[in-house]
C-alpha cells in the first residue's frame, strides 16, 4: 500500500496516530502517516547524525530511519517487540521514525485540543502543534514537519537517495 497523499491539514482536529515514546503519548496526523511497520534490520550509514539510525529496505524502497528518542534528546532504549517504525511522509520524502510502540488511531476534536503552550523563550515548541486530551490522557500533537527540519531532511534525503 502506497499512500503519497499531499494533503496539508491545517485544521488540527482529525485523526491522529498515537504512539508512545517513553512515558508520553504523542500523536501524529494520520494523513502524514504512510505506513506502520514493525522494526526490521536497520542498515547503518556512516557519518550521519546520531539520531539517524540508518536506512531500511521497505519493499524495495530505501527509507531513512530516525530514532525519535534521540531526536528528542531522550535516552535510547533497547528496541522491544513492540518497537515500530512509523513511516511518515514529509515533503514528499518518507522517513521512518522509530517509536516505542504504536497505540491507536484516535479522533480528536478541536475541543479537546489545547494550543501549544510557550514554556519560555529558550524552548522551541514549534514542533508541538498542541495538546490533546483524550480519556484523561494528554497527547502531544507533533508537527512532524517541524520535528524534522528541512535542512536535516535534505541531508536525510540525500542520503536516502544515495
Amino acid at each position: 500500500m502506497e499512500a503519497l497523499a499531499e494533503k496539508k491539514i491545517t485544521e488540527q482536529e482529525g485523526k491522529y496516530l498515537a504512539f508512545i515514546l517513553g512515558n508520553e503519548i504523542y500523536g501524529i496526523e494520520i494523513l502524514r502517516v504512510r505506513e506502520i511497520i514493525g522494526l526490521m534490520d536497520v542498515t547503518t550509514v556512516p557519518q550521519t547524525p546520531e539520531y539517524m539510525k540508518g536506512v531500511i529496505n521497505l519493499r524495495g524502497k530505501v527509507i531513512p530511519v530516525i530514532d525519535l528518542r534521540l531526536k528528542f534528546s531522550m535516552l535510547e532504549e533497547e528496541h522491544t517487540q513492540e518497537t515500530c517504525v512509523i513511516v511518515v511522509e514529509v515533503n514528499n520524502t518518507s522517513i521512518g521514525i522509530i517509536v516505542d510502540s504504536v497505540s491507536e488511531v484516535m479522533e480528536i476534536n478541536s475541543g479537546e485540543i489545547e494550543e501549544s503552550l510557550s514554556f519560555g523563550q529558550g524552548i522551541d515548541t514549534d514542533y508541538i502543534m498542541g495538546m490533546g486530551k483524550v480519556e484523561k490522557k494528554i497527547i502531544i500533537l507533533l508537527d512532524i514537519e517541524a520535528v524534522l527540519s528541512s535542512e536535516e531532511l535534505e541531508v536525510v534525503t540525500q542520503h536516502a537517495v544515495e
Binding site: 499512500a3 497523499a5 494520520i30 504512510r34 506502520i36 514493525g38 517487540q81 513492540e82 504504536v102 488511531v105
Partner: protein, 810 residues
Amino acid sequence: MKIGMGAKVITLFLIAGLVPLTVIGVISNNSSSNALKQQAFNQLVSVRETKKKQIEDYFSTIRKQVRTLSENGMIVDAMKGFKTSFNEVRKQNDITDSKLEEYRTALKTYYTSDFTNEYKQQNNGQGPDAVGYFNQLDDDSLALQYYYIKANHNQLGEKHNLDAADEVSSYSKLHAKYHPAIRDFLEQFGYYDIFLVDPESGDIVYSVYKELDYTTSLKDGPYASSNFGEVFRDANNSNDRNYVKLVDFEPYAPSYDGAASFIASPIFDGSEKVGVLLFQMPIDKINAVMTSDSDWNNVGLGASGETYLIGHDLAMRSQSRFLIEDKEGYNSMMKGLGTDQDVLDKINAKESTILLQKVETKGTLAAVAGNTNVEIFPDYRDVPVLSAYTPVDIEDVDWVIMSEIDEEEALMAVTALRANMWKLAGGMLVLIVGIGYLVTRITGNVTTVIREIVERLTDSSTEITAASEQVSSSSQRLAEGSSEQASSLEETSSTMEEMSTMTKQNSDNAQEAAGLAQKCSDSAGQGNVAVSEMIHSIDKMNSTSMEIVDSMTDSMHDINKSSNEIAEITKVIDGIAFQTNLLALNAAVEAARAGDHGKGFAVVAEEVRNLAQRSASAAKDTAVLITNCVDKAGKGTELTNRSKETLQSLVEDVKKSTDNTNTSLQEIVGNIEKVTTLTKEISTASVEQSEGVTSVNDSVQQMDQVTQQNAATAEEVSSTSEEMTAQAQTLLELIVDLESQVGGTRKDKLQDGKVNSARQEDNKPGARKARSSSRQLASSRKNGEHIDSESLIPMGENRIIEHDDKMSDF
C-alpha cells in the same frame, strides 16, 4: 613616793644596820674592854710580881753577898790589916805637922772646889757645908784623904782606880794588895761603894771609892748621924756573924746629898768581931732592875708603864721612867702639877727622883698600908694609870712596889677597840646611808625597770594571750584536721572493706570461673561428641537431599522444556497479533486517507485491530503465564540448584564449621586451661590482695589510732591553751596589781589584753566542737559504724580533691 620610799629605805637600813651594830658593838665592846682590861691588869700584875721578885731577889742576893763577903777570908784579913795599919799611916809616912798642914790646905781645896763644884752641880747650885765637913776630919783622915783623894791623880769619881798611893806605909801595901780585888768585886756587882769599918773607932778604914767619908768615923765623924752611921752601929752592935742590916735611902752628904742606902754585916774572925763590912747600895743596879735597864717596852710596860719602889715616906726609891725618858716633859708636867721648883731642881740636878719624888696616890697609900691590888687612879703625874701595887718583902725596909701603866695605854686596846668600833659604826653608818641611798636609787631604777618590765609583761601577756589564741585555733584546726583525717580514714577503711569484699568476690568469682571453665571444658567435650553426631546426621541429610534435589531438578527440566515450547508458540501468536495490529493500523491509515470512502474500511480495520489486540493480549497473558511458569520453574530450578549448592556448601560449611568447631573446641579447652591457670593466678592475687588489704587496713587502723591521739592531743592542747589564756588573764591581773603598787598608768594596755581574752572565749566553742567531733568519730569507729563524715564536719567540694591528694599519698 620615790622620796618617801627613799627615806623609808634609808631609815630602815639605818635601823637594820645600826641597831644590831650598836647592840653588838656595845656588847662586844664591853666584853672586849673587860677582857682587855683584865688582860692589862693581869699583865701589869705579872710585871709587878716579876719585878717584885726580881728586886726582892736582888736585895736578898745583896744581903747574902754582904754576909758571905763578911766571912770572906780576904775581907777578914783586909779588915784586920787595914784596921791595924790605918793608925800607922802618919807615923809610917813621917807626916810632920807641917806636912799635915800642907796636906790640910791641899785637901781643903778639894773640899771647897772639887767636891763643892760637883755638889753644886748635883744640887742645883746649892752649896754643901764642905768646910764644915772638912773641919771635922781628924789627922788620920786628913793624911789618908790627902794621899788617896787629893793626891790621887784620878779624877773625881775615878779615885777608886788608884791602887797604890804615893805613900809608904803598910797601909799602902795592904791597899795595893786588897784594893784591886775589892774594887773588882764592887765593879762586878755594881755597888756604889764598899766599906770596911773599924768596929771600935768606927773609922772607915777602907772604901773602894775615896769619897769624903773615907777614913771618917761613923761613930763620931761628920757622917755618923747619917743612915750610914746608923746601919754601922746596928751591925756593930750585933754579935751574930750572919747579921745583916739594910738601911733605907737617905740623902748622904759624901754622895753629894744624893740618895744613899747601906747594908752592913759584921766581920768576924772566928768569934772575934774584927770589923763591919758595908756596901753602899747600887742605886744604878736597883734602878736597872726596876726599869729593866730602861727597857720598859719589852717587859710589857709599853710606852707609859713603869715599875718603881716607894718607901714608907711615899717617896720613890727607884727612878721614874718619865724623868729618864723625857726630862723636860717631866719637868713641865711636874711643874704643872704644882711640884716645888726646888724639888724639881734637885731632881733635875741629881737626875734622879729617888727620895725626891713624892708619890702620894691612892695606890701608894694603900700599898704602904700593906695592901696588894690593881686599881686605876691618877698617879704622881696626875695621869690615870692602871696600877698594880704590893708591899715588897725586903728585910729592914718597908717598901712597896708600884707597877703602873697609863690607863690610856693599858686600855689602849680597849680604847682602840672602842675607837675602832666607833669608826666602824661611823663607817657602817655612812655605808648604810650610802647603801640606803643606792638602794633608793636602785629601787628607783628598779621601779622604773619594774615599770618597764610590767609594760613588757603586759605586752608579753597580751602576746601570750594572742599566742594562746593561736594555739587554741591551731589546736582547733588540728582537731579538725584530725577529724578530717579520721573521716578520710573512715572512707579509706570503708574503701578498704569494699576492696576486701571485692577481692573476696573476685576470689569467689575466680573460683566460680574455674568451676565454669571446668564445666565449659566438659561441655566442650560433649560438644565435640555432638558435633561428630551432627556430622553424621548432616551427611545423611546431605545424601538424601541430593537425591531429592536431583529428582526435583529433573522435573524442573521437564517443566522448563514444556514451558519453553509453550512460550515459543505464544511468541508466534503474539507476533501474529502484532503484525495484525500493524496491518489494522495501516488499514486505518489508508482508510483515513481514503476519507469518506474508507470509513467502512476504517471500521473493519478497527475491528481487526481489536481482534488483533485481543489475541495479542491473550497471547500476552499466556506469555505472561508461561513466562511466570517458566520463571517459576526456572526459579524452582534455581532454588533447587541453589538449595543443592547451598546444602552442599552448607554441608561443607558444616564440615568446615565442625572442623572449626573442633578447632574451636580445642581452643576452648586450651583457653579453658589458660582460664583455669589465670583463675588460679587471680585467686592467688586475690589472696595477696586480701592480705594487702588487711595490711592496709591495719595501717589505716594505726593511722586511726594516731588520728585519735592527735584528736586527743588537740583536745589537750586546746584545754591547755584555755588554761594558758586563763593564766594570761591572771598574769594580767597580777600585772595590774603590780602596776598599781609600783604606780603606773598603763591600764589601756591591759584593756587590750582583756579584749584578747574575750575573743578567746569565742574561740572556745570551736575548739570544743572540733574536739567533740573527733570524739564522735573515735567512738563511732569503735562501734564499727560507717559514719558519713559529712554529717559531722561539713566538707566543702574541694575536700574531695584534697582527699584524693591525701589518698594518692597513701
